[in-house]
C-alpha cells in the first residue's frame, strides 16, 4: 500500500512468538494492544514536544484517550467478528473451488459422469415413482375413518335383504352395518324448482344405500345432514324413500357448488327426491364412476320375496375390540339360523361355510397384490443394483485417480483438504443424480397414474411419496459418500511417502478381491435384467396377442351412449318403440353416419345381461340351463357394430310386437347346441317370459366377445326390441365423423325429439375394450420399464468393471505388449474378462425367468395370453440381446487397452 511504502522503511521485527501465533490466523488481541500503545506513545511524544514532563505527558495522553480497556474490548469484538466472516468466506470459496473442480473432473470423464448420473437418476426416479404409486394404491390406508375396522360380509359382500337385515339386527360384532346395491343407472332431470336454464337431463351411475353407509366408512357428508332412516318395521336399517346424495364432483359440475343444493328437490328417474347430502370429495365408493346415492328402503315384504334376485353388498364397522375372525364366527352362527329359517333359499350344505368376513381394503385391492409385489420386488432389486453400481463406478474411478491423489498428497495437500475435495466431488454426483432422479420420478408418477386400471381406489390422490423419495435419495447419497470417501482415506492413511509408492506400484492384491466382488455384482445385474426382460416380454406378447384378438365387432368408429327417457312418460311399449324408432332414424340420417341402432347392452360396457336360457330339446333340466348373453336390438344395431350375418336373415321392421317372437343366435350357440343340425327354425326359451315364451331362431350372426378379449365367446341371442321393450337403451352409431362432432350431433338430435331424455357419457367401443386391458397394460409397461432400467444398469455395471480392470492393469498390459503380445490378444483378453461374468448372469437369469413365468401364469385373472412361458424367441433373444449389450460395454474399455502405449505405460507406472 502506498502510504506504507512512502515511509520506505521496514517495520520493526515482531517478536518470534507473535510471528508463530500469526501463522494460525490473525492475532486480533495483540494487534489491538499494539495499536493503542502506539497511539499513546505518539501522543506522549507530541506532548513532551509541547513542554510536558515525560511522566505527566503520558498521564495526559492516557486521560485524553479515555477508557483504554473498554476501547480495547470493543475493538477486539469488532476484529473477532471480522476475522470470523473472513474465515467463512474463505471456507466457502474453498468449497466453491472444490465444486468447480468436481464439475470439471466430471466433464473431463464424461463416461463416468454419464454412467454415474444415469444410474442414480434411473434408480431414484424409477424406485420413487413406482413405490409412490404402489404405496398410494396398495399400502396406504383407505381414505376412511379407522379403515382397519371396516369389513365386507359374505363372499364379495353379496347378501340378500333378509341376510342383511338379520346381521343388522342381531350381529353384535359391529358398531354399524350398512349395505349398498350393485351399480345401476340413474336419470337426473332438471330440478323441479329450477330457474331459467336447467341443465339437460343426464344418465349417471349410482347405487342404492342404507342410511348408515357413511357411518360405516367413518365419514361425514361434505354438506347436509345425510340420510334419514326409515321408521318402518325393519327399524333403522332402511332409508326413508325419496332422499338422494350427490357426489362432490356432480355437485360442483351440475349444481355449481351451490350450498343451497341441500334440501332442493330434484327429479331422479322421474320421481321427486330431496338432496340430503353432498358426499365427501373423492369418495369414489363403491367405485370412481358413482355419482349418486339413492335410498335403499326395506319393508317386511321385500325380505322373503327378493331373496334370490336382489343383492345388497353388505359392509360393517367392527365394534371396539372385535377381530375379523370373531366376526366371522358370529356370522356363521347367524347363517346357521338363516338356513334353518329359510330352507328353500339355502339348500346347499356349504351355505354356512361360505359366510365370510373380510377386511374391506383386502377385498378391494387384494387381487392386484401379487402383481404389485412383483413390482416392488423389482424396484428393490433395481435400487440395490444401482447402489452397487455406483459403488463400483466410484471405486473404479478412484483406482485411476489414486496416482493423482498420491501426487497431491506428496506435494503437501492436507488430508482434510483431500477428503473434503473427494467428498465434494461425490456430493456433486449425488446431487446432480438426485435432481435428475426427482424429475424422472415426477414424470414417472404422472405417466403411471394415467395407466392405472380404472377400478383401483384413490388413484386420483397418488403423488410423489416424500418418504420413498427420501429413502431412495438418502441411500444413494450415503453410498456415494461412503465409496467416495474410501479411496481418500486409503490414500491419505498410508502417509505421504508410502501412498506415493503404493499408488505408483500399480495393482495391489486388494484390487483382485474387490474385482471378484464387482464381477459377482455384474453377474447379478445381468441375471436380474434377463428375468425382468423375459417377464416384460411375456406380458408384452400377451398384450399384443390380446390386442390382435378380433372381438367380433368394429371398435374404432363406433360410438355408444346410454339413453334414458323419463320413466313416467315412456311407460308404455308403444311410446318407447315410437321414440326409439324416431331416434334411430334421425341419428341414422346425420351426415357421415353409416349405421345406427340401439342395444340393451353394449359389449365391454357394464351390466351384461347373462340369462339362463332354455334350448328346445337340448336342456331338459330346468335347474341347469346354459347361460346366454342376451341383447334386445333393432335392425341396424348389428350393422353398426359390424357383426356379420352367417345364415338366415337379419331382423327387419316387420319383426313387430305382435309378430312371431324371433331371435338371432351367435355362432357359439350353434356350435354348442346344433353342431349337426340346421339352427334356423329351432326354438329357445326367453328367460323372463312365461311357459309359452319361445322364440324361433331366424338367423345366425358372428360371435362377439362380451367382457374380455381372452377366452371363448359365450352363446348369445338377440331379440327384436319391439317384442321385449325396456326403458333405458344404448345408442350404437358407426360413422366417419370424429367422436366429438358425432356426440354433439346426437345430443342435438335427442333434444329435438324430447329435451327431457337423458344421455350418458359418450364413448367409443375402442375405449371400452381398452379399459378391459388396463391392468395388463399397466403391469407389462411397468415391468418393461424395470427391464429397461435393469438393462441400462447392467450395461453401466459391465462397462464400469471392465474399465476398472483396464485402469488397474495398464502396467500389466503394457508389459505384455512390450514382450510381444499382439493387439488382438490384449483386446480379447479384456473382452473375455467382461463376458465371463455376463454369461454366468445370463444362465442364472434364464433360470429365474422360468420361475417368474410360472408365477405370472399362476396369477389370478391370468395375465398371460397367447404366449408360452418357455417362449423360444424370448428365451433365446433376451440372452442374445444382453450379450450384445455386454460386448458393446466391454468394447469401449478394450479399445482403450489396445491403445495403451507400452513404453509410456511402463514409464508412467
Amino acid at each position: 500500500m502506498k502510504e506504507a511504502d512512502r515511509g520506505g522503511r521496514l517495520p520493526d521485527e515482531e517478536p518470534i512468538w507473535r510471528r508463530i501465533r500469526r501463522m494460525f490466523g490473525p492475532d486480533v488481541e495483540a494487534d489491538v494492544d499494539e495499536e493503542i500503545e502506539l497511539h499513546l506513545e505518539m501522543a506522549t511524544d507530541d506532548l513532551v514536544a509541547e513542554g510536558y514532563e515525560p511522566k505527566a505527558a503520558r498521564r495526559e495522553a492516557e486521560r485524553r484517550f479515555g477508557d483504554r480497556r473498554r476501547v480495547a474490548r470493543e475493538c477486539r469484538a469488532e476484529g473477532g467478528r471480522r476475522v470470523k466472516t473472513a474465515a467463512r468466506r474463505e471456507w466457502l470459496q474453498g468449497v466453491g473451488q472444490d465444486l468447480a473442480y468436481g464439475l470439471r473432473q466430471l466433464r473431463r470423464d464424461p463416461g463416468f459422469a454419464a454412467a454415474a448420473l444415469l444410474t442414480l437418476a434411473l434408480a431414484i426416479g424409477a424406485v420413487t415413482a413406482v413405490a409412490s404409486v404402489v404405496d398410494g394404491v396398495l399400502l396406504a390406508a383407505l381414505p376412511y375413518g379407522e379403515p382397519d375396522r371396516i369389513v365386507r360380509l359374505w363372499p364379495d359382500g353379496a347378501a340378500s335383504r333378509a341376510e342383511y337385515v338379520r346381521v343388522a339386527q342381531e350381529g353384535e360384532s359391529y358398531e354399524r352395518v350398512a349395505a349398498h346395491s350393485v351399480e345401476v343407472g340413474f336419470t337426473v332431470d332438471a330440478a323441479e324448482t329450477e330457474a331459467d336454464e336447467p341443465p339437460a337431463p343426464e344418465r349417471l351411475r349410482g347405487v342404492y344405500v342404507t342410511p348408515g353407509l357413511l357411518d360405516v366408512l367413518g365419514l361425514e357428508p361434505a354438506l347436509g345432514p345425510g340420510f334419514e332412516a326409515d321408521a318402518g318395521p325393519v327399524g333403522t336399517h332402511g332409508a326413508r324413500p325419496g332422499q338422494v346424495a350427490v357426489s362432490h364432483r356432480l355437485w360442483q359440475r351440475r349444481f355449481g357448488g351451490d350450498p343451497e343444493v341441500i334440501g332442493q328437490r330434484i327429479r331422479v328417474d322421474g320421481e321427486p327426491h330431496t338432496v340430503v347430502a353432498v358426499l365427501p370429495r373423492n369418495l369414489g365408493f363403491p367405485d370412481r364412476d358413482v355419482d349418486i346415492w339413492g335410498t335403499e328402503s326395506l319393508t317386511d315384504r321385500d325380505l322373503g320375496e327378493f331373496w334370490g334376485s336382489s343383492i345388497l353388498v353388505t359392509v360393517a364397522r367392527l365394534a371396539e375390540g372385535v377381530t375379523v375372525d370373531g366376526a366371522r364366527a358370529e356370522l356363521r352362527g347367524l347363517a346357521r339360523g338363516l338356513r334353518r329359517d329359510n330352507p328353500i333359499w339355502t339348500p346347499s350344505e356349504s351355505y354356512v361355510e361360505a359366510a365370510d368376513v373380510a377386511n374391506l381394503k383386502e377385498a378391494l385391492v387384494g387381487s392386484t397384490r401379487p402383481a404389485f409385489l412383483i413390482l416392488v420386488g423389482g424396484v428393490l432389486l433395481v435400487l440395490l443394483v444401482a447402489v452397487a453400481n455406483v459403488a463400483n463406478l466410484l471405486l473404479a474411478r478412484a483406482a485411476t485417480r489414486e496416482r493423482e491423489l498420491a501426487v497431491r498428497s506428496f506435494m503437501g495437500a492436507g488430508r482434510g483438504r483431500l477428503v473434503r475435495q473427494l467428498l465434494t466431488e461425490s456430493l456433486v454426483v449425488a446431487v446432480l443424480g438426485s435432481v435428475l432422479g426427482l424429475g424422472l420420478a415426477v414424470v414417472g408418477v404422472e405417466a403411471l397414474v394415467t395407466l392405472l386400471p380404472a377400478d383401483l381406489p384413490r388413484v386420483d390422490e397418488v403423488g410423489i411419496d416424500g418418504r420413498v423419495l427420501a429413502f431412495a435419495v438418502g441411500l444413494t447419497v450415503v453410498t456415494t459418500f461412503l465409496f467416495g470417501l474410501l479411496p481418500a482415506l486409503r490414500t491419505t492413511r498410508r502417509g505421504r511417502a508410502s501412498a506415493g509408492l503404493g499408488a505408483l506400484g500399480g495393482a495391489t492384491t486388494q484390487g483382485r478381491s474387490q474385482r471378484r466382488l464387482a464381477g459377482l455384482l455384474v453377474a447379478a445385474e445381468v441375471a436380474l435384467a434377463v428375468v425382468l426382460l423375459v417377464g416384460a416380454g411375456l406380458l408384452g406378447k400377451s398384450f399384443a396377442a390380446l390386442q390382435a384378438v378380433d372381438p367380433g365387432f368394429e371398435r374404432t368408429r363406433v360410438l355408444t351412449t346410454e339413453v334414458g327417457p323419463p320413466a313416467m312418460e315412456y311407460a308404455g311399449d308403444e311410446t318407447r318403440i315410437a321414440f326409439y324408432r324416431e331416434l334411430v332414424e334421425r341419428v341414422g340420417a346425420i351426415p357421415g353416419v353409416e349405421a345406427a341402432g340401439i342395444a340393451s347392452q353394449v359389449p365391454f360396457d357394464q351390466g351384461a345381461e347373462v340369462m339362463a336360457t332354455g334350448v328346445e330339446g337340448k336342456t331338459p333340466d330346468p335347474n341347469a340351463l346354459p347361460l346366454f348373453d342376451s341383447r334386445r336390438i333393432v335392425p341396424g344395431t348389428l350393422e353398426a357394430l359390424g357383426v356379420p350375418l352367417l345364415a338366415g336373415r337379419r331382423l327387419t321392421e316387420a319383426d313387430r310386437a305382435d309378430s312371431l317372437p324371433v331371435a338371432l343366435v351367435g355362432q357359439a350357440a350353434v356350435d354348442r347346441f346344433w353342431p349337426h343340425e340346421d339352427p334356423l327354425g329351432q326354438r329357445i326359451h326367453y328367460p323372463w317370459g312365461g311357459e309359452d315364451a319361445w322364440m324361433t331362431v331366424v338367423g345366425v350372426v358372428g360371435e362377439i366377445k362380451n367382457n374380455q378379449l381372452a377366452g371363448e365367446a359365450k352363446p348369445a341371442f338377440y331379440v327384436p326390441y319391439p317384442q321385449r321393450t325396456q326403458n333405458t337403451m344404448n345408442l350404437v352409431v358407426r360413422s366417419t365423423l370424429a367422436p366429438d362432432a358425432l356426440a354433439g350431433a346426437i345430443r342435438e338430435t335427442v333434444e329435438v325429439i324430447d329435451p327431457d331424455v337423458a344421455l350418458g357419457p359418450q364413448r367409443t367401443l375402442a375405449e371400452l375394450v381398452d379399459d378391459s386391458l388396463g391392468r395388463l397394460r399397466f403391469t407389462s409397461l411397468l415391468l418393461g420399464l424395470f427391464a429397461a432400467v435393469a438393462l441400462g444398469l447392467g450395461a453401466v455395471g459391465i462397462y464400469g468393471i471392465v474399465s476398472y480392470g483396464v485402469g488397474r492393469r495398464t502396467r500389466e498390459i503394457g508389459v505384455r505388449m512390450a514382450v510381444g503380445a499382439g493387439r488382438g490378444e490384449v483386446f480379447w483378453a479384456v473382452m473375455r474378462g467382461g463376458l465371463g461374468q455376463v454369461l454366468l448372469g445370463v444362465v442364472a437369469g434364464v433360470v429365474g425367468a422360468f420361475a417368474l413365468g410360472r408365477v405370472l401364469a399362476g396369477l389370478p385373472g391370468g395375465l398371460l395370453y397367447g404366449v408360452e412361458t418357455t417362449d423360444p424367441w424370448l428365451l433365446a433373444g433376451v440372452p442374445a440381446a444382453l450379450v450384445l449389450v455386454a460386448v458393446v460395454a466391454s468394447w469401449l474399455p478394450a479399445r482403450r487397452a489396445v491403445a495403451i502405449d507400452p513404453v509410456s505405460a511402463l514409464r508412467a507406472d
Partner: protein, 119 residues
C-alpha cells in the same frame, strides 16, 4: 467519556471517513486531524476513534495494512475502500440535508400563527 457519548456514533463514522478521504492514515493521525479541525470543540476522546475504525473495517468501508509510522514503529494504517468512498458521499449528502432542515427552523424569523396570543 460523557461528552463523547453525546456525539452520535454515525457522526463519528462520517468524520473518520472524511478524514481518511485525504489519504491513508493511522489512528493517531486521524485523531489529531479531527481534533485540530474542530478546535477540540467536539471533545472526542481519542480512544473512541478506535472502535469506530474497527467497525468500519469490518463493514468493509475501510481496509487496514500494517506499515511503518513516522518514528519507524509498526503502525496500522487505514485506507478508504470504494464502498467507503461512496458511503461517505451518501452520508455527506444526508448530513447537509439535515443540517439545512435544522438550520431553517432555527433561523426562521416567521412567527407561527398560534404564537401571537401566547406572546
Amino acid at each position: 467519556m460523557a461528552t463523547s457519548s453525546k456525539l452520535l456514533q454515525g457522526t463519528l463514522d462520517v468524520l473518520v471517513l472524511k478524514t481518511l478521504a485525504w489519504g491513508p492514515a493511522h489512528g493517531y493521525a486521524v485523531a489529531r486531524w479531527i481534533a485540530r479541525q474542530t478546535d477540540d470543540a467536539l471533545e472526542i476522546e481519542d480512544g473512541s476513534l478506535y472502535p469506530a475504525l474497527h467497525r468500519l473495517e469490518r463493514q468493509g468501508l475501510v481496509e487496514a495494512r500494517w506499515g511503518a509510522s513516522e518514528n519507524n514503529r509498526r503502525a496500522k494504517f487505514y485506507q478508504l475502500t470504494d464502498d467507503g468512498r461512496s458511503r461517505l458521499g451518501d452520508e455527506v449528502a444526508s448530513w447537509e440535508r439535515i443540517a439545512r432542515a435544522v438550520a431553517s427552523v432555527l433561523e426562521s424569523t416567521e412567527r407561527p400563527s398560534w404564537a401571537e396570543e401566547a406572546s
